[in-house]
Symmetry: C2
Subunit: 210 residues, 2 copies
DNA sequence: CCAAAAGTGTTCGAAGTACACCCATGC
DNA sequence: GCATGGGTGTACTTCGAACACTTTTGG
């Protein structure tokens, strides 16, 4: 599970410090096993609820990892999921030792156990592809947010700076986002207009083929 | 395994007629089980060699299917692979009963067993996305081919007609394809210039799982 | 008044889309 | 000579990229 949330304005990744061999002391992705009568999506949702105490999340599978030697303990086939959660809905559970779990910026992850570096890279690539198909920001930001915050999310996903004017024009033209009453006074500077995701995005969408 | 090849100028799909319950008599995708010490890619390649007698193929995973009720006999988790093979390299093996396997046009598949309709749809969507990232045609067509043949492949994948002039300009501008000596005299009409795929361009290639 | 972030338009090139006619061949 | 598919160019639109200054606030 590649569990992402915005922390301190950065897109960050939850990692678990391994308490036992192999890779003892290394950081690793959270995860777990699928139960006997459980779909993969349900397993991912259950794990997520256990680890992070969240239920309303965007969960999407992006790859399968089945090399027979990827886990020295034996054969494990993993399905990678990206989970986008709102920081304000996040409650790390008691089950997860406080000092055994930590957030890292997605762009600067620490050394990871197993084939997890590759899994993180794949997750990011998947997210990049999904960025202009799905309201990624809606899953990560609170109900109302400034366009600057949304832009930071997009920049973290694509990995480079985006021109402010181009970005604003684009998201507003898409109609995914709309201004709402209220401003966000954040500090020693001009307060920002607040926005929210507009109702269903089916409006401006045209169907192609069948 | 969604095994595709060009048959009679159409992009076609290999299906197996089920000999036993459940879904006896229905058409289904070919496939098999992963061995104990085998990667998923290796399993797919092995199955493909057994079913179709081909080894040089483009094989790519595109999805995982793990609903606990997808197979009434018990829990089966499947990884979907698209395989693109050249018709001239294809040899259906003795292992595959001649009348138990058949090709169907990808656009008009018959009723399928299990959740296979969805898998086929996903494979097609995946292929559509991959179309301008990867030399899909190179895997399906013989060494040399006419641009019209390549265009038919693309049209089958995207599901609608493409303007001839725009298509030719685009593939030639990309430099993926180059004219070679020779023409293809095909019938009661002007013979077509032959082309082949040019040496790899520095295209960023991305895989979905391993 | 200064620092810090918010907000705002125009121009350019690239890429895609629409569209109609002549060409070479076998019969 | 005619039917069949092969081959070619131009205009328009759309999208993304580059680019700099003014505004509002807190300190």
């Amino acid at each position: 599970m590649v569990l992402l949330a915005i922390r301190d304005d950065r897109l960050s990744l939850l990692l678990i410090r391994r308490a036992s061999e192999p890779f003892r002391g290394c950081w690793a992705l959270p995860g777990g096993f699928v139960l006997e009568r459980e779909s993969l999506d349900a397993a991912a949702a259950r794990e997520l609820a256990e680890e992070a105490g969240v239920t309303r999340v965007h969960l999407e599978p992006f790859g399968v990892y089945g090399d027979p030697d990827r886990d020295p303990r034996g054969r494990v086939i993993s399905v990678g999921y990206v989970a986008l959660v709102r920081a304000d809905e996040l409650v790390l559970q008691a089950a997860t030792d406080a000092d055994a779990a930590a957030w890292f910026p997605l762009d600067e992850p620490p050394a990871l156990a197993f084939d997890h570096p590759r899994i993180v890279a794949d997750a990011r690539a998947h997210l990049r592809d999904a960025l202009d198909r799905e309201p990624v920001g809606a899953e990560l930001l609170p109900e109302s947010f400034s366009l600057a915050a949304l832009q930071r999310v997009h920049e973290a996903v694509v990995g480079h700076a985006i021109d402010k004017r181009n970005f604003r024009r684009k998201v507003l033209a898409e109609g995914l986002v709309e201004a709402i009453e209220g401003e966000l006074a954040g500090g020693a500077h001009r307060p920002a207009q607040l926005y929210r995701y507009a109702g269903r995005r089916g409006e401006a969408k045209r169907e192609v083929g069948r």
